[in-house]
Point group: C2
Chain length 194, copies 2
Amino acid sequence: MARRSQTETAVLGGLSMQPMTAYALREAIRDVLGHFWSESFGQIYPTLNALEQQGHVERREGPRSGSSTFVITASGTARLRELLSEPIAASPPRNGLLLRLFFGRTLGVRKCRELLLEAKADAERSLAEYDDLARTLSAEEEGSPDLPYVLMTVSAGGHGAEGVIAWADEALAMLAGIPADDSTNDATPTDGES
Amino acid sequence: MARRSQTETAVLGGLSMQPMTAYALREAIRDVLGHFWSESFGQIYPTLNALEQQGHVERREGPRSGSSTFVITASGTARLRELLSEPIAASPPRNGLLLRLFFGRTLGVRKCRELLLEAKADAERSLAEYDDLARTLSAEEEGSPDLPYVLMTVSAGGHGAEGVIAWADEALAMLAGIPADDSTNDATPTDGES
DNA sequence: GTGTGCATGTAATGAGTTACATGATTAC
DNA sequence: GTAATCATGTAACTCATTACATGCACAC
């Protein structure tokens, strides 16, 4: 747990695929890892400096004057392997959609339906994106030893999206069974008694 | 965005289902919302105090001397409705499993397989739990106006777990297609050149 | 009378995000 | 020359978690 927590993993991992400038690294993390991981960019530079001091990465001449390309060292690869082998620290769940639906009685049937339709549309859109991405990557990165692993994570996104779609359909059906009671929607609260 | 960010929503939502002590609330959040939401308990008490000062909850005699039961007020219900209607602030994705698999070339085929088998087993276990939970709740809370909404969130958990299982099978099949190259596992890194 | 669980809170810490500040290079 | 983009960093701030501190009440 060398602090920098998982930022270290993401940074070393990115550099394990290819040497990059810090700038390129942060774009890679945003665009490529972005589907399932995020890093605060404010920590990438400090982490790179720390890793350099520990000898896990080396600074080389960058593509421009003043810029540096970072290259992972053998010790960095070992460190990455170590980090990847650590038990997965489950980040606390925070599903804003489910939080809203859970209190759906207060939110109202109509808004719940809207949320579900929106979630379903989002999932359908991202499912299409994942399919595209898988096809593009298979073609462009053909033969790369990283490809199968990358495809696995893309596939996870796809299955997740499919799960959301199936769930949304089910939930919409359940919603349809609830009397579209407008008193729970925007009218006076049902604080009848006591 | 009254700060206390979403803690406010969870607290008001919990009290919208029934009046509780702060202690009971934090257990409810842990046990019931726990599948898709988490709150740092250190924020529940301050949030309750803030809500009390704003008139969104009222403090009543608790079940013991010195303890208080909190009751949501009409303005609290209105506030909750407002909070639930706010756009969903997507929390940054942080999937530790996918982060590891993405760098699977470095981690090694064997450990990837272990991770996937573990994830699949976890998903199967929680799928069974969700099924149980749905059955139990349907029986125990029969007739509650909150029940259908609660069941929707349970169903989301189930579909999610099913998605993970399907994905894990696919990913394991992909893994099987990779030469179980032990050089990428624990042997010397493939830092051949330069 | 004592231990377990109910009950209430606060302080310290640490992690993560944003916004800011700065400058070089390249394309137009 | 000037706008966009590459490039590097830091400081301030918010947010969240953990651990700690305290005490009552009820069952045994």
